[in-house]
Structures are given as structure tokens and as C-alpha cells.
């Protein structure tokens, strides 16, 4: 039945790296497949989700018609409030999932009792926590695309696509930053075993101060510096500059540097937090505890 446990890996480091990579890919595929099967078994929920996207898009279109062209704050974006808000909402669909998806799924696993068997498997805890957000991230990216697609196809939104790579870079960096924050939030959930306060506070601050549905220029002078501490502000600035501004407008470098700095600080912190939280939960025996 059992095979003797080898203490050395044949082939040295190259073998070890490639086998680790294939194990991680297998782990990712397992989570993706499992979560997709579970999610797709709730078919009615999907119908409501798609209808919700369409109606959100529609309401933004009417808001744009009512206020967009008349606002001086929209002049920079050609008076196109609809395109401005569409990008903001689609962006927060993805970053919101990166931020709260990990912690929410960790909490669900705690309540279902699946966290302990997952952590008792040889899969690394960091990998497990990251894989929790893999399927929700994929779904939210598809939802954001569907949202933008509906805005373009049914309500006439127009984006300059020649600078799309810059926008995609901003999205990728922003998702990475929010994922790190999500891991920190999941670490907190492992310790306090309650809903996640980090995601709630950050999501609220992002909606208020990052210029998701209105430009940060609307904020009073004393609040505007606060927006610089939120990664979404920088990402949205670059995305809108790339997709809404006139093609000749130079792309700012500052948002990319700011997002890279957020990544450099938050990812090591996320690794440290999760490692301590897993150790704490294993020591206290609270992995499966509601």
C-alpha cells in the first residue's frame, strides 16, 4: 500500500522546482474545477447575477444622461460620465473580489469545517488561501468584461483601445495589491473567527475617496490627500487616462510606481501575517471552529 518516504529529491533543485510548479498548477486546477462545479450547480443565482449587471449598467447610463455633460469635473473626460462610471464600477468588481473574496472563502471554510482537512493536506497554507480567490477572481473578471461589453453594445459607451495595455497593467497591479490586502484580511479571520473588518473598511474608503463613481477632484481639499493612500485611486487614474482621455495625452508614470510600491510593501506583510495566523490557529486548535 505505502511506499517508503524519500528524504532526498532526485535530480536536485531543477526537479524540485518543476515538481513544485506542477503541484501548484494541479492545486490551482483542483480548486478552480471544484469551485466552478459548486458555483454552476446554483443556476438560478447566475441568472440573477447577469440580470443585476445589466440593470446596474442601465442605471449608470441614465445617471450619465442626467448629470454627465453638465458637470465641470467631467470636462477632462469629454463629459462622458457613463464611460467614467462604467470603468470605475467594473474596476471595483475585480478589486473588490480580490480584497474580500479570500477572507470570505476562508470564513466559509471555517464554518463548513473544510479548513482543517485542507490545512492537514500537504498543500501549503499560503497556496490554499490564494486558491480560495482563484475562481471568484475569474468570475469577477468575466463579470467586469460583460459589464463593459453591455455598456458598449447596448448603451453606446466608447473607449480608446489603442492604450489598452497600460490599462490592463494598472488592473493587474491593482488586483495584486488588493489580493495582498485580502490575504491580510484572511489572516485576521483565521485569528478572530469573525467577518472581515479589513475588507469592509477598505471597500468603503475606496468607494468614498478613490474616485470610483465621481472624480477625486469633487472631494474637499483636506480629504483629497487621503485618496493617495488608496491603491484604487492610482489605478483608476491610469485606467481612465488610457481609455477615456484624448489619444495624445501622455500617460502618467506615477500611478504605476505607486502601485508597485504598494505591492512591494504589502506582499511580504501578507506572507508574514498569514504565516503567523496559521501558526496561531494550529496552536490554539481553532482551524475548524466557528
Amino acid at each position: 500500500m505505502s511506499a517508503p518516504m524519500s528524504t532526498t529529491q532526485p535530480g536536485g533543485r531543477a526537479f524540485s522546482l518543476s515538481s513544485r510548479t506542477s503541484s501548484l498548477l494541479r492545486l490551482a486546477w483542483s480548486f478552480l474545477r471544484r469551485d466552478a462545479l459548486i458555483d454552476l450547480s446554483y443556476r438560478t443565482a447566475w441568472a440573477f447575477r447577469l440580470a443585476g449587471l445589466f440593470f446596474s449598467c442601465w442605471s449608470l447610463f441614465f445617471l450619465g444622461r442626467a448629470f454627465g455633460a453638465t458637470s465641470p469635473f467631467m470636462a477632462r473626460f469629454g463629459g462622458d460620465y457613463f464611460g467614467f462610471a462604467l470603468l470605475g464600477v467594473a474596476f471595483t468588481m475585480m478589486t473588490g473580489t480580490a480584497l474580500s473574496g479570500t477572507a470570505r472563502r476562508t470564513r466559509e471554510a471555517q464554518l463548513l469545517g473544510t479548513l482543517e482537512p485542507l490545512f492537514a493536506s500537504p498543500a501549503p497554507p499560503f497556496g490554499i488561501i490564494l486558491m480560495f480567490s482563484l475562481y471568484p477572481m475569474l468570475v469577477s473578471c468575466l463579470q467586469a468584461l460583460a459589464f463593459l461589453g453591455a455598456g458598449t453594445a447596448f448603451f453606446g459607451a466608447r473607449f480608446a483601445l489603442d492604450r489598452l495595455p497600460a490599462a490592463l497593467l494598472a488592473v493587474a497591479l491593482a488586483v495584486a495589491v488588493h489580493l495582498a490586502l485580502g490575504v491580510i484580511s484572511a489572516s485576521l479571520v483565521l485569528v478572530i473567527r469573525r467577518g472581515d473588518p479589513v475588507s469592509w473598511v477598505l471597500s468603503s474608503l475606496t468607494y468614498l475617496f478613490s474616485g470610483v463613481v465621481y472624480p477625486v477632484e469633487v472631494l474637499p481639499d483636506f480629504l483629497r490627500p487621503l485618496s493617495l493612500f488608496l491603491p484604487a485611486t492610482h489605478a483608476l487614474e491610469l485606467i481612465r487616462c488610457a481609455l477615456l482621455d484624448a489619444p495624445g495625452t501622455p500617460l502618467p508614470m506615477r500611478p504605476i510606481l505607486a502601485l508597485a510600491a504598494f505591492c512591494a510593501v504589502l506582499w511580504p506583510l501578507a506572507v508574514l501575517c498569514l504565516r503567523s495566523a496559521v501558526r496561531h490557529a494550529r496552536r490554539e486548535g481553532t482551524l475548524p471552529m466557528p
Binding site: M1, S2, A3, P4, M5, T7, S22, S23, R26, L27, W29, S30, F31, R33, R34, L37, I38, S41, L112, G113, T114, E116, P117, L118, F119, A120, S121, P122, A123, P124, R279, R282, R283, E284, G285, L287, P288
Partner: protein, 276 residues
């Protein structure tokens, strides 16, 4: 004296859990902590291929010991090592499997085949494209009647079917150590016999099994019995030498022997003995 080197060595395991305090106590001593010592220097070793039963009353520390051996809980002191590797390390965790009646890996919305595929992914093992062909596990699957369950959602499996599925899931990853946590509690007598035969066969090929149970007739069918009481191993040996300790740990000093109390199981045990 067994000359086989031990697969599992547990030495001086101690574990205390903090217990929640009433608000009045928290207000009086905000930084104080109340703990309950669950394991108090638990030590034993299991050689390769041995089947040992772990018995003891509720609160004796059996589940905590099983959780430590699975790497889900860290001990306060002492050690548990599988083939000289600490059980909390991924290399050891790959070789330890847990089977239990209510296995949370068997998600109710998944079919058994999908749940097994996910479990293999966790262990970095490539799952077969077609689960109907089990390859090297065909005999095991047939013995546990798994093929007929594969396409069923885990939500509709009976308790006994879930226990069989959990045992199959645990053995699929070819572990060195199997911890079976009260599996027989939900199995019918015929399936109990079948599971014992499966475990006997697996142990013949080198598997080491720790059977956590409250069923003394099941314990008596194992080659070795560890009696836990008060967080430590109070007695260790074949059933006839630990029977008095086992009964005493349950407060049943004056009860008739386990086999006499459970004639049906006693008969099954005898059958297994003859078959073995």
C-alpha cells in the same frame, strides 16, 4: 519484541487549550487565561504494518491526539514523527491520512468522483481521467463498493457510504499512517467486517493504522490496543492484557467482557481471525 523500526513515534506530547472565560472573570483579570490540559505526556510508537486501536472515554484526548498527528494542531511540547519527520511538516502530512464518517472534503454539492478528484489535487496526485477505471486502486474500490457511489452527489450518500468513501479517499494517496476516527460507528456489520479485511490487507502491505474507537469489540479485534485516560496512554498491549484498564477507563470495572457483551461483533471478529 518487534524488530521493525517504528513508523510513528509519539514522545511526551502535551497540549492544553485555552477555554473561554465568563465576562466577570475577564473584567477581574483581563490578561489572565484559563486552560484545560488535554494531553499530559502521551507517548507510544507504532511499527510499520501494525493496526492499533485507540480507546478511551470522552475527553481522554483521543481526538486531540488524532488532530496533532494530522498536523492540524501543534502540540505545546513533545513530538510526533512519522519516519523521523515531524508530522507538522508537509513531507510527513503527505503520508498521513484521516478517514472519518463526516468527512468535510466530501462537499454536498459535488459528486463523489469530483470530491475524490479534488482531494487528489490537494496531494499533488494526478487524478484518473475516468474514475470508473481505478487502476491500482481497483480492488480497494471494489471491496468498499465505491464504483456504485461515484456519480452520486455527496449530499445523498448515507452515513455508511460516506464513511466508506472517506476510507477510500484516505487510502488513495498511499499513506504510511491511516487514522480511522470512529468509522465503524456508522457501518453495518457486514461492511464493518469488509472494512477490517481491507485494513488487514493494507497493513499487510506496510500501512500502519490507528483506529480511534469507542467500540471495545472492534478494539479487541486489533492486534494492539492503546488505552487513553486523562491525556496519557494508561495501558498499551494486546487486548487480553489491557482489557481491565480499558473497562476501568470507562468506569465499567464490573461489566462482562466486551466480546460477551457484543456477541455479534465478537462473532465477526472471530470470523476475521479465521479469514486472516
Amino acid at each position: 519484541m518487534n524488530s521493525t523500526p517504528p513508523t510513528l513515534v509519539v514522545a511526551g506530547l502535551r497540549k492544553a487549550f485555552r477555554i473561554p472565560r465568563p465576562l466577570s472573570a475577564v473584567l477581574r483579570h483581563p490578561f489572565g487565561a484559563e486552560t484545560k490540559e488535554v494531553l499530559r505526556g502521551c507517548s507510544f510508537s507504532l511499527p510499520r504494518g501494525e493496526t492499533a486501536a485507540l480507546v478511551g472515554p470522552n475527553g481522554a484526548g483521543k481526538t486531540t491526539l488524532a488532530r496533532i498527528l494530522c498536523g492540524a494542531v501543534l502540540p505545546d511540547s513533545g513530538s510526533a514523527a512519522l519516519l523521523c519527520v515531524d508530522v507538522s511538516e508537509p513531507r510527513a502530512r503527505r503520508r498521513i491520512s484521516l478517514a472519518r464518517p463526516e468527512d468535510p472534503v466530501l462537499h454536498p454539492r459535488l459528486t463523489l468522483a469530483e470530491a475524490l478528484r479534488f482531494h487528489l489535487g490537494l496531494y499533488g496526485v494526478r487524478a484518473p481521467e475516468n474514475f470508473a477505471d481505478f487502476g491500482e486502486h481497483r480492488e480497494l474500490a471494489a471491496a468498499l463498493k465505491i464504483p456504485e457511489l461515484l456519480s452520486k452527489r455527496c449530499a445523498v450518500l448515507s452515513a455508511g457510504e460516506k464513511a466508506r468513501a472517506s476510507l477510500f479517499k484516505a487510502l488513495m494517496t498511499r499513506p504510511e499512517l491511516l487514522i480511522a476516527d470512529e468509522l465503524s460507528r456508522v457501518l453495518d456489520p457486514a461492511m464493518t467486517l469488509r472494512v477490517r479485511q481491507v485494513l488487514r490487507g493494507a497493513c499487510g502491505q506496510g500501512l500502519t493504522a490507528l483506529i480511534v474507537t469507542h467500540d471495545l469489540s472492534e478494539a479487541s479485534a486489533c492486534g494492539r490496543v492503546l488505552v487513553m485516560a486523562g491525556g496519557e496512554v494508561a495501558a498499551d498491549g494486546p487486548w487480553h492484557s489491557v482489557e481491565a484498564s480499558a473497562l476501568s477507563s470507562f468506569g465499567l470495572e464490573n461489566a462482562p467482557s466486551a466480546a460477551a457483551e457484543a456477541p455479534a461483533c465478537g462473532k465477526l471478529s472471530a470470523e476475521i481471525g479465521e479469514a486472516g
